[in-house]
Structures are given as C-alpha cells and as structure tokens.
Amino acid sequence: MYELVEKSEIFNVHKMVIKAPGIADSMKPGQFCIIMATEFSERIPMTVSDWSTDTGTITIYALELGISTLELARMKVGGSLYAVTGPLGTPSEIRHYGTVVLGGGCYGIGGIYPIAKACKEAGNEVISIVEARYSPMFYHEKELQQVSNQVFYATSDGSRGKKGKVEDVIAEMLERGARVDQAFFMGCTQMLERCSEATRPIGIPTKVALNSIMLDGTGMCGACRVTVGGETKFACVDGPEFDGHKVDWRELQQRKSAYTEQEAVVYQSLSHECLAEKKLRGEL
C-alpha cells in the first residue's frame, strides 16, 4: 500500500509520487493528506500538489524541516509509506472571480498548482507568483506556467525575477494599477501573514492555507485550532483556507512552536541512531 513510485529532490524540497488510487479519485484542489512514513512516525499534513486518476497517484512536495519530513526524505522509490489518509480539509472555493493572484513559497510553490489549474479552467485570469531564496530552488515550473496566464518570480538574492518576496511583486502590480479580484496564498506562516498584509489596504479578498499542527485531521482533537475573526476554528475541517485578513497570526505562530523542545530531542535521537547504524555497516 502507498508505494512510493517516483522521487526527486530540489534542494531540500522532496517531490514524492505515491500510489493511492482511492485518494486520487476523490481529491480536489486545496485539500491535503495526513502521512505517516512508518508505524513509529508522527501524522503530518501534506498538501496534495497534483494527482492522476489514470496512474492512481498523488504528488506531494515535502520541505525537509524536522524528523518527520526527514523520514520522508530518506524513503526510497519502491518503498511504501505506512499510512496516507485523505483527502482532508475543505476544498478551495473555485469559481469565476475575474483576476486571481496565487502566491506560493516553499511547499506552496507546488501547492498552488491545482488551485491555479482549477481557477484557469473556471475562466479566470490566473497570475502566479512564486518566491525562493535563489533561482535554482524553483520547481514544478512548467506545470505552473501551463495553467497561469503569467508567472512572476521573486528571489531573495535577485538571481531571478524580482529581488524580494511575493508581496513585493504584488505591491508592484498594484502600483501599476492592476486589478485583483481574489488572492490565494500558500507557504510558511510568515509568508502568509506578509502577503495578507499586502492585500489588506486595498481590500483584496484573500485566502490563506494555514499550516497549524494537526493530529487526526477529522475535527476530533482540536490540535489544529486557530482563531479567525475572533472565533475558534479547526483548520483541518473548517480550513485549511481562511480569510487572511482575519487570522490571529501571533496565536498561530505560538501554537506552532509548542513542540520545539521535543522536536529537537527526537531529531537528535534519530541522527544518533543512524550514525550507529552506519558504523555497523562500515559506512563510517
């Protein structure tokens, strides 16, 4: 079950194509899966960036951060994941908005693709903006270009497109008098917050895909709770997309840091284990 059929790496982002025909059949843009690499792993949410009912596969882009994404990164083609649960979350609302801006950073570069595709199919003018530290870190490029009327790039070092971030490209567009009817953002929490601030002054309706800590993904535990517009919401069922102008960002950042200490402990425990293994195998 859940065989890994294809894998590649773009810096520390790992593209993983996983056999999961049932999930591929039911998947909609904006939804995610919860994944366990092994029986011992955490359950971690991963946006599904592409899927095919023909091959019965889903594609995720995992950004290597801590132990759980490291476990994914170490998996080999032909191996199997212990558990893939999905689709989860409320799908993105796709309709004819007019001009739609999609902003993506880190895993969101892949993550915005299905939303862009569906928006394009719904007759929208689709403008995608992606950010990375420097030029070689972009991925899923051709696909995104195919479903976008325009793609803009932003890099921290200016090696490609605008020197800066997604919100700098947006600011520039707005200065030029561009009209934007709807914005979607996906990426790390700071990026989501910055981009929401960029669209707030002129009141562009803004959806952000939040990445709170999750456990079951079915609304059963409340681990994922976020405050939006003064109300507590469960990101795994009510979201992950919410109005970016109403999210309590400080609370989200704090809640995301809840396990920093344990994350460090478990990360170190794994590295030691593996060094020992390597020594045994004579690789060190």
Binding site: G22, I23, S26, Q31, M36, F40, S41, E42, R43, I67, S68, E71, Y82, A83, V84, T85, G86, P87, L88, L215, D216, G217, T218, G219, M220, C221, G222, A223, R225, T227, T232, V237, R250, E251, Q254, R255, S257, A258, Y259, Q262, E263, V265, V266, S269, L270
Partner: protein
C-alpha cells in the same frame, strides 16, 4: 458444589491483585493483574444462582451471568467465555471497562446489604475471556454461505466491530472504513494501555479479519467517499455509521487556545494511539507538564489525569464542578486515581487560564460551587458561589468536559435526519431516516458506554439482515418507512 447459600454469603469478595499505586503511577502496564484460576473459582462460588437473575436484567446485553459463573466454579473457563460471547463479543474488553457497579453488580443479591460485596461479575468476565484467549487458538465462528450482499461499516469502534462480527456470520461481504491507521475506536485511541492493553483489542480485530471482514484504514468517510458514493460508486446494499461522537468541547473562558491547553481527545490520542509515552521511539511528541489540571469528572478525565502522572507530571489535579458522588466515572477509576496521588478539587470550575508572554499556560483561576436544588435528572445542580475564587499554578490543562457530534458525515448526507445537537436520529433498531443507512453508538446516543454501543451494533445488524433479506420481496416496506 456443595456449598449452602449461607456459606456462599459468608465468603468475602475477592479483589484482584494490583500493581502498588506508588509503583504503577510511573508505568503504563495494566493496573490489576487479574485473578488466578483459584481466585476465580473462589469468587464464582459466591454466586447464589438466583432464579430471577437480577444481574442479567442489569446487563444491557443480557449476558447469562449465573450460568457462566457456574461454569467457572467447575473450572470450565473456556466454555464460560464462549457462553458470554453468545451475547457479548468483546468480554475481555467489557470485563475491564464496563461500569459494573451501576449495571449487573448494582443489582446483585450478594450486594444488597453492602454494595462492595456484590459478586465480582466484571472480574470473572475478564478472567474467563483472558483464559480463553491465552489458552486456546482463536476459534473461527461458523459462517453462513455468502449471500452476495455487501455492507459497509463506517468506524471500527465497539458498535462497528459488533455489526461486522454479526453480519459476516450471516453471510454478508463486510467492509469497514476506519479513519485512523488502527482499529478499535476509543478502545485504542481513548482508553489507556494501563486500563485496557491494546493487545486485547488487536486480537479481537485480527479475529474479525480472519473471518473475512475487510478493514480499510486511513479512510475518512465524508471526504474519501460520501455515504451516497458507498451505494452508487461502490455497490454496497447497506451502510452502518458507527463513528462515535468525535468533536471536543472547550470551555467558553479566556485562554482556551494557549499552548498547553489540550482536549482530552488530543492528549489521549497522542499518548495512546500515537504512543507518545514511548517518545522518542515513537515520534509523536507530548508535553509532560509539571502541574497538570484536568477539567471534568468522567472516565475520560480520570484517564487523562492518570496518563499525566504516568508521563511524569509532578502534580495532577482534577477540577470538577459537582460533588464526588456525582462523578460519572467508574468507581474503580476514581479510586485508582486517588491512590495514584491525583488531587481532587471538587465543586470548582475554571473561569480563566493564565498565560505568559510566549503564549503558554501558567495557572488557572476557579470559582467555587455548592450543590443547589435537584434538576430534572434528580442530580443536585451545582451553583456558583459568588465572589468565591481560588487560583493555582499549572502548565498543562486537559479539557475533558464531553464532546459533540462530529458533522463530517452528517453534513455530506443532508437527507439523513439529525437532532438539534447533530446526533443521528434512528428507530430502536438503528434505522436512520435514510433508506438502507443505519447508525449506532455514540453518534446516536452521545457519549455512552462500550457495552451500550455494542448493544446498538447488535440490534442494527439484526435490522440490516432483516431489511436486506426481506427487501428482495417487492412488497416489503419496513413499517418505519
């Protein structure tokens, strides 16, 4: 055996040997060791084999209690277990977790004068079931010829497992869809190892799979498939919904989203299902508090408190709005919790959670309560005492004040009736307002018990079988239709 009633009445109830409290509160091993065969026989001899069988009427599924106990006195332990199983398919579970003191043991004649002297029916049930499991290869039940009909079951908790067990024997093709990566529902993600070893549940699930039940794990119905998809896309003839209650309630007070505040569902799922008590071997983290406050007085609260102390908390306090006698938890669990050093702050309810700059819990302010007039249910209602507050330090809060109905399935099945709280409406046999859809367990009744969920499963299995076999007859319309 030749004991007179008087002699039987003179024997004291045998308690089960347990891990000492000061030792067990640092490990996750099961607390009571269980009876030895000699203890079981001796306890069984206390049963008076009452003609009118009051204990049987006290049991929600009418286990033939005096009859199985008689088999225990004759050391026919495996037969005793199999006799129980004619009515209750999970005796090893129920012997451990049923609230016997409000069911069979509450009405036992031996306990008439002194409640604590009722025959230890639960302990005997557990003993017989454990004996059977440990000393016999799993017995494959008799299965009727396949009838070509497919039934889908959503959720692998006690209700779903019971429906599966019954229908596979009637000859159906049975498929369970379970949201999690393991089966058993609350038995695996809620009730801790020290109260219900997971191997007991695993054995039962393995046995079901061996009889031909298919379990699709990681399958969230309402997302992966809707109930209608199960009929139209996947060709099932009937669907049983046994998804439990599954939506936590938080208090409406400041500080509920702070770091360190958990629903009991989250806290217990981390520790039990994800095994974070074995962190970092299992990679899911759990926070070990210094001072842990658990809000609530049910089984879930006791389990959370006793988990906290085992994980290494220095001090664990249960905060409960009502008085001790009103705690809904099993008496044995309250007693165990006390022995393990858990403090009780009764007639108290939090009004505020304090925080530091980093968004972590630092303490709690509570209001004191007193008991007022009885309410409709006859329980004396707790009323807040004005201007009577106290505060204490804690860095972890586990909210265990019950749950609500999870709307994932009901929202995607709009043509199925739910009540104003979102629970599914059924007839006494589990038939919902939607044709060929049945439901049972906590998603119908709200938080209840393992045995009542199993009872609901049994009735629904019967209804499904009746409706499906009669439905082939064109003229048949169920009378509830």
């Amino acid at each position: 055996m030749g004991l007179t009633a008087k002699e039987r009445m003179a024997i004291e109830r045998h308690s089960m040997a347990e891990q000492p409290a000061g030792f067990r509160n640092r490990n996750f091993e099961e607390v009571p060791y269980g009876y030895t065969p000699d203890e079981a026989v001796a306890e069984a001899q206390r049963c008076l084999s009452c003609k009118n069988r009051p204990c049987v009427s006290g049991c929600p599924v009418e286990v033939p209690i005096p009859e199985f106990i008689a088999l225990v006195t004759e050391k026919r332990f495996t037969e005793a277990a199999r006799l129980i199983k004619t009515k209750n398919v999970l005796p090893a579970v129920c012997g451990r977790v049923c609230p016997q003191e409000t069911q069979c043991e509450a009405v036992c004649i031996q306990g008439k004068k002194d409640k604590t002297q009722a025959v230890a029916i639960g302990n005997l049930e557990r003993f017989a079931a454990d004996f059977e499991r440990e000393n016999n290869p799993m017995e494959a039940p008799e299965v009727q010829d396949k009838n070509g009909l497919k039934v889908a079951i959503i959720g692998s908790g006690p209700s779903g497992l019971t429906v599966a067990g019954d229908l596979i024997r009637f000859g159906y093709e049975v498929t369970i869809y379970e949201a999690f990566h393991r089966g058993g529902g609350v038995l695996v993600y809620g009730i801790p190892e020290f109260r219900l070893p997971k191997k007991v549940v695993e054995t039962e699930i393995k046995a079901l799979e061996d009889t031909g039940v298919t379990i699709h794990y990681n399958s969230v119905i309402g997302r992966l498939y809707t109930v209608d998809d199960l009929f139209k896309r996947l060709g099932f003839s009937a669907v049983f919904i046994g998804v439990g209650a599954g939506l936590p309630i938080f208090l409406d007070i400041p500080g509920m989203n702070l770091n360190g505040v958990f629903s009991a569902n989250e806290y217990l799922t981390r520790s039990n299902l994800m095994k974070s008590y074995l962190f970092p071997q299992y990679k899911t983290p759990v926070i070990v508090g210094k001072g842990v406050a658990v809000i609530g007085g049910g089984n879930v609260a006791m389990d959370s408190a006793r988990t906290a102390i085992r994980l290494g908390a220095e001090k664990v306090t249960i905060v409960y709005r009502r008085a001790r006698e009103q705690m809904p938890a099993r008496a044995a669990e309250v007693h165990h919790a006390e022995e393990e050093g858990i403090e009780f702050r009764l007639l108290s309810s939090p009004v505020e959670i304090f925080r530091n700059d980093q968004g972590w819990v630092t303490g709690m302010k509570c209001q004191r309560y007193e008991l007022g007039e009885p309410d409709e249910s006859g329980r004396r209602r707790p009323v807040p005492i004005e201007n009577s507050f106290f505060e204490f330090d804690c860095d972890l809060v586990v909210v265990s004040i019950g749950g609500k109905a999870n709307p994932l399935i009901t929202r995607t099945t709009p043509d199925m009736e739910v009540n104003k709280w979102g629970y599914i409406v059924t007839d006494p046999w589990g038939r919902t307002s939607k044709r060929s859809v049945y439901a049972g367990g906590d998603i119908v009744t709200g938080a209840a018990t393992v045995i009542s969920s199993m009872g609901a499963g049994r009735r629904a299995a019967k209804a499904i079988h009746e409706d499906l076999t009669k439905e082939n007859d064109e003229t048949f319309t169920p009378d509830w239709w």
